[in-house]
C-alpha cells in the first residue's frame, strides 16, 4: 500500500496517542526543569489588567465565581491571579457564586491567595465570600435593585447587613468593577446582558472565560466588556503581568498557567500539522482522480 493509502486509512487511535504524548511530554519536561515560555500580552488581557489597576485602593470589587471543577483547569489560574492582583492593589473583594460549586472554588482561592499571602486582610472588612445563591439571571436582575436581598447572609451565615465591607451597597452598580470568571450559563454573557448593559456605563466588567465560550464574548469588547482573559493563553498572559507587577520570584503555584502553555504549543503544532496533512491528502487524491 502506498504512503498516501496508509495515511488515508490511519487508525485515529494513533492520533489520540500522538496528542497524549505531545501534551504530556512538555508537562514532564517543564515540571522537571521549571522552564517556561515567554508571554506576549494581547490587548484584551492588557485591558483586564488596566481595568483592575484603574480601581482606586480601598474600593470594593465584585468577584463572581461562575464555574465548577470541570473547567477549573482553564479558569482557576485566572481566578487565582485576579484575586491576587486585587489583594495586591488593596482592593476590597466581595466574592459571590452563581454556580453551586463556584462557592467551594471561591473558598479555595481565598485560602490559596489571601490566607497564604495577604494574612492582614480581614474577613468581612477587606474580603468576604457571600457564597452561592440560586436564581441565575433572575438573581442578577435582583442584584441591580437590592443587593442584600439577593445575598441575605454570607458563606458563614453572617447577616450581610452587619458586614462592614457591604456598608452603603444598595445595588450591584455600587461596585466600580465586576470581575466574572465564568464557564457558561449563567456567566459572563448573562452579566453583560442583564446587568452591565443596563447600568449605563456605571459598572465596568472584565471576564475570564473558557476557550470555548470566548468567541461569544468577543463582540462585547471593548464597549460592554472592558477586557477578556481568553482561555489558557489569556490566563498565562495575565499571570505574567501580575507576577511582573508584584515583582520578586513568584512561588511555583503562581506559574500554573504559564506552565500549561507548553502542552498548548505542542498540541497546537500537532493539530496544525494534521490539518495540513489532511489537506495534502485530499488535494493529492483529487488531482490523481482528475488525471
Amino acid at each position: 500500500m502506498s504512503v498516501l493509502g496508509r495515511l488515508e486509512r490511519l487508525d485515529r487511535r494513533w492520533i489520540f496517542l500522538a496528542m497524549f504524548l505531545v501534551v504530556s511530554g512538555p508537562i514532564l519536561y517543564m515540571g522537571l526543569t521549571g522552564k517556561l515560555f515567554p508571554e506576549k500580552v494581547t490587548a484584551t488581557t492588557q485591558s483586564v489588567f488596566d481595568a483592575v489597576e484603574a480601581v482606586p485602593p480601598g474600593e470594593r470589587v465584585l468577584f463572581a465565581f461562575d464555574f465548577d471543577p470541570a473547567s477549573a483547569g482553564e479558569l482557576q489560574p485566572m481566578a487565582t491571579q485576579l484575586l491576587r492582583h486585587c489583594a495586591a492593589r488593596k482592593l476590597r473583594v466581595v466574592c459571590i457564586a452563581l454556580w453551586p460549586l463556584g462557592n467551594n472554588l471561591a473558598e479555595d482561592t481565598i485560602t490559596e491567595v489571601i490566607h497564604a499571602d495577604f494574612p492582614q486582610m480581614r474577613d468581612g472588612v477587606d474580603y468576604v465570600n457571600l457564597g452561592f445563591q440560586a436564581g441565575q439571571e433572575q438573581l442578577m436582575t435582583l442584584l441591580t435593585t437590592n443587593f442584600r436581598k439577593g445575598f441575605p447572609v454570607d458563606q458563614r451565615g453572617r447577616d450581610t447587613a452587619d458586614l462592614e465591607i457591604l456598608e452603603g451597597v444598595r445595588s450591584v452598580t455600587d461596585f466600580p468593577l465586576l470581575i466574572d470568571v465564568g464557564a457558561g450559563f449563567p456567566g459572563s454573557k448573562e452579566w453583560v446582558q442583564y446587568v452591565v448593559t443596563g447600568s449605563g456605563g456605571k459598572l465596568r466588567m472584565v471576564a475570564g472565560t473558557t476557550g470555548v465560550s470566548t468567541p461569544q464574548l468577543i463582540p462585547y469588547y471593548p464597549h460592554q466588556l472592558a477586557g477578556i482573559l481568553a482561555g489558557m493563553k489569556g490566563a498565562a498572559e495575565y499571570e505574567s503581568l501580575v507576577n511582573a507587577k508584584i515583582g520578586g520570584t513568584p512561588p511555583p503555584r503562581y506559574l500554573e498557567a504559564q506552565r500549561r502553555m507548553g502542552p498548548q504549543l505542542f498540541g497546537h503544532l500537532l493539530l496544525v500539522a494534521l490539518i495540513v496533512l489532511g489537506n495534502v491528502i485530499h488535494f493529492t487524491r483529487k488531482a490523481r482522480a482528475a488525471a
Binding site: 487511535r13 522537571l32 483547569g73 464597549h223 460592554q224 500549561r260 502542552p263 498548548q264
Partner: protein
Amino acid sequence: MTRQRMTWIVLTVVFVGLLVARGFVGQGLGRVYVERGEVSLAKDGRSDQGEPVWRTVPRDQAEHAWITWSRVTPKAFAEAQAKEPGQDRVVLSWPRTVGLWLAALLTLAIFSFLYADNPAYKLSESIFVGVSAAYWMVVGFWETLVPKLFGAILPGTVKAMVQPSLKVPAFSPWAPGTWDAADPAFWPWMQQWGSMAIALVFGVMMLWRLMPRGGWIAGWPLAFIVGMTAGRRMVTQVESDLMAQAEATMQSVLPVTPGLSAWDLFWGTLPGILVLVGVVCCLCYFLFSVQHRGAVGGAARVGVWYLMITFGAAFGFTVMGRIALLAERVEFLLDDWLWLIDPNHLRS
C-alpha cells in the same frame, strides 16, 4: 483470544508493572497527608439580634469542641517526622488517599474509551452520571426549595429545624396578630409571601403531569414560564445584543483622537472598517429575499469568508480549551498521583 483482548491484557500488565516499580522507586506513589487541629468554643453572651456569640477557649472549658483535619503537603509531613519521629499531628489520610487513587483510576478509565469501548469506561461513565444527577437534585432541594420556597412560606419552622442562618421576618404568615400594615416592611413581605405561595401552587400543578388524569393542568405553569422567559430575554437581547452592538459597530469606524498622523489614522480605523464591512457582508449572506447576484452576491461571498474565519477562530479557541483540560488531567496524573514531577515544590 481476539487481538483487541490481547492488547488490553498486555497494556494492563505493562501498566501495573510500571506502577508497582514506581512504588518502590524514590518517594513512591501518591499519598495525602493531613494535620490535626482542635476547635474549642464557649458561649460569650448574645448579640443584638439575640444570637449566641461564641469565643475560642481552652479545651477543658469548652462547651463544644471538635477536631479538624486540614490537608498539608508531603513536605510538611517529612518535616514533622524529622522534628519528632512518630508524631501524630501530621498523619497519612487513608480516606483522602483512596479518593486520590479513585480519581486517578477513573480518569484512566475514561481515557480508555479512546482505545475502545470497555466495561471500565462504562462503569466510570455511569458513576459520573449518577453522582452528577444526585448532586444537582440535592443542590436544587437545599439551595432553592428549602431557603427560597419553604423558607418564605414557613420561615419559623425552616429556621428552627433545618437552616439556622435563615433570616426570619418579624411577621408570621400563620399568626395574623404579628401583622402590622403600618410597618414599611410589611407590604413587601406580604408581596413576597404571596408570590412564593403562587410559586408553590405552580410547582404542584407542574407535577400534575405525573398523575394518571389531568395532565393538562401542567400546561398552565409551563405557559407562564415560557411567556415570562421569552419576554424577559427579548428585552435584554434587544438592548444588549442589538442596540448596543449596532452602536458599537458604528462607533468603531470613527477616528476618536484628533491630530493623528495619516499612518496612525489608517491603522486606528482599519479594525473598525473591517468590522463594519464584515457586518454588512454577513448580513448580505443571510439576506434570502434577494438573489445573490451582482453586488449582493459579491458581498455575500465576502460574508462567507468572514464566517469561515470566525468558525476557524472559534475552532482554535475550542482546541485551546480542550488541550487545557487534557493538560490539567495529565498534570494531575503525573504530579498528584505518580509523583513523577513536582512543579509546586510540595515534596522537595
